[in-house]
């Protein structure tokens, strides 16, 4: 666990992209503020401030960074007009619900970085974007793309769709799916054992991910090895639910102490 490598931010800026399907961002902000005494700001749809021209550019950039084949290294695409048009409709509609395209995560983050910072990186604010879109990163161990819940950087990206799709569901779920059982039937059979789209537990679970983003901002190290700690890097849905909902504590003793130290510094530093 690193000590702080950046100054404590004066605010946490929470942006959104698309319909977050019941995720309560205000509750997440209140949670972070309560835990670390840093104020939060709800910034709304990340694309709303930009000109028509800039939206055109961003739509084109987004259409280029689709992962076409998760088993192959990424190559920048040459998008068809309808793909650019799709992106434009998607990002200009704050209630957009449709997802399913896997975007190259690092490049997605770069597009958001350029939008937010306009070329000048700023550590004064911890910026987190909550999206309903799916992104992935290349895994060198097994040479394929994997969908991710979060991509911690400046700014950090957290995906509600990633939270449903990326951590693996119970093994039997996939076996039965391969045998042709409709997903809707399997969701009934395994109800409760994984998060689904629009899950009422989403906001509670996301609190841990929002905290990971903040920890990354401060220390460069968002994770904890303790599977009972909210900062645990879960790879299975059952791990997600355990670490975020039923762990024996909210944060492990080491991180709890760290957060207390952060609270004290925030108060002394006059952040509030």
């Amino acid at each position: 666990m690193n000590d702080f490598i950046h100054p404590i931010p004066s605010a946490i800026d929470l942006y959104k992209e698309g319909d977050l399907n019941g995720l309560n961002i205000t509750q997440l902000g209140e949670y972070l503020e309560e835990k670390i005494h840093i104020p939060f700001r709800i910034r709304g749809n990340i694309y709303k401030r930009f000109s028509k021209k800039r939206i055109e550019e961003v739509s084109k950039e987004l259409a280029r960074i689709k992962v076409r084949d998760p088993d192959k290294r990424f190559v920048l695409g040459i998008p068809l007009p309808a793909e650019i048009d799709y992106e434009k409709r998607r990002i200009t509609d704050p209630k957009w619900k449709i997802f399913g395209i896997l975007y190259e995560g690092v490049l997605y983050q770069k597009i958001i970085l350029d939008l937010v910072f306009k070329g000048r990186l700023d550590f004064k604010h911890c910026i987190i974007l909550f999206t309903n879109q799916l992104f992935g990163t290349w895994d060198r161990d097994n040479n394929r793309y994997h969908a991710r819940v979060s991509l911690y950087s400046f700014p950090s990206l957290i995906s509600i769709t990633g939270l449903v799709e990326a951590p693996a569901k119970p093994k039997e779920f996939y076996l039965k799916k391969q045998m042709g059982t409709p997903v809707e039937w399997l969701k009934e059979e395994y109800r409760g054992r994984f998060l689904d789209h629009g899950d009422s537990r989403m906001t509670e679970v996301m609190k841990g991910y929002a905290m990971q983003a903040l920890l990354f901002h401060l220390t460069g190290d968002p994770f904890c090895d303790d599977r009972d700690c909210r900062l645990f890097n879960s790879h299975w849905q059952e791990e997600v639910l355990h670490s975020q909902m039923d762990g024996q504590y909210e944060f492990c003793p080491i991180h709890e102490a760290m957060l207390k130290g952060l609270r004290d510094r925030s108060i002394k530093g006059g952040v509030r």
Binding site: K66, D71, L80, E83, G100
Partner: protein, 265 residues
């Protein structure tokens, strides 16, 4: 002795032949030029045809098989139950296709019943068919606008060239619809000519691909509307499982695009 009365009126073989040739020729001549030429008579193509024909658009569906309906007769694993996700069942209702709820948001219908009703709906709306007819090439006009298709008899393609050196013929239309499923034959032909570049299937998140197919349905190139699974091939969307809601809704979206464009013209 009284002869038993015949059930059917006596007609000679030559009259039967004349009736077939005459009926076919009259329709074919009329449809050498149409408003919309749909390549592929599967669920999305039938749906486009039905919706535009209801609005008076002169429509011909070209189907390479003898039978119309594509994969809509059967569901996954050759089982003849077809599934649609909400809101696809609204189209089943509209077409008078009985269905039942499987689980929340998923409905099951009898494949033969659903498919035959959809075909009948297209026929009733005024769609005409050229079955056993295979797409061969596109007709292009100024600015590479797609203005028709070159077709041939399907058996010609199935036999060795030495036996069947039959030249194809061209049909003209204001719009061409590629509803040829995974093959995306019309789009691929444009790609062969270096006019359009497709990316093939994506591989993941099948559950969501239905929405994406509908959202990407539209004009891929001037004069060419892409619907159904051809949309997934064109734009590299995830390959879908055996649910048909997106085929029906994509067909409907394709029809809306055509009607809108025809109004503008």
């Amino acid at each position: 002795m009284n002869r038993k009365k015949q059930i059917f009126t006596p007609v000679s073989e030559k009259e039967v032949t004349r009736a077939i040739v005459d009926g076919f020729a009259r329709q074919f001549i009329e449809y050498v030029e149409s408003d919309c030429l749909i390549i592929g008579g599967g669920p999305s193509g039938l749906m486009v045809g039905r919706d535009i024909a209801l609005k008076g658009v002169k429509t011909l569906i070209v189907e390479r098989n003898n039978y119309i309906g594509g994969g809509f007769w059967i569901g996954g694993y050759l089982m003849n139950k077809v599934t649609v996700r909400e809101p696809g069942q609204k189209i089943l209702e509209e077409l008078g296709i009985p269905y039942e709820k499987a689980v929340k948001g998923l409905y099951v219908a009898d494949g033969p019943h659903a498919c035959s009703k959809l075909i009948a709906a297209a026929c009733d709306a005024g769609v005409k068919f050229a079955n056993m007819t295979i797409f061969d090439d596109v007709v292009l006009r100024e600015g590479n606008r797609v203005c028709g298709a070159v077709v041939n008899w399907t058996p010609v393609n199935a036999l060795p060239r030495e036996i069947t050196c039959v030249d194809p013929i061209a049909l003209e239309s204001k719009f061409v619809v590629d509803s040829t499923g995974h093959d995306a034959c019309v789009v691929k032909k444009l790609e062969e000519r270096g006019i359009l570049k497709t990316v093939g299937f994506g591989g993941m998140w099948v559950e969501q691909s239905e929405d994406l197919v509908v959202e990407h349905t539209g004009e891929a190139h001037p004069g060419l509307i892409v619907t159904g699974m051809a949309v997934a091939t064109t734009y590299g969307l995830p390959r879908m499982g055996p649910t048909f809601g997106a085929m029906l809704l994509s067909g409907r979206r394709g029809a809306q695009v055509i009607l809108q464009k025809m109004k503008k013209k």
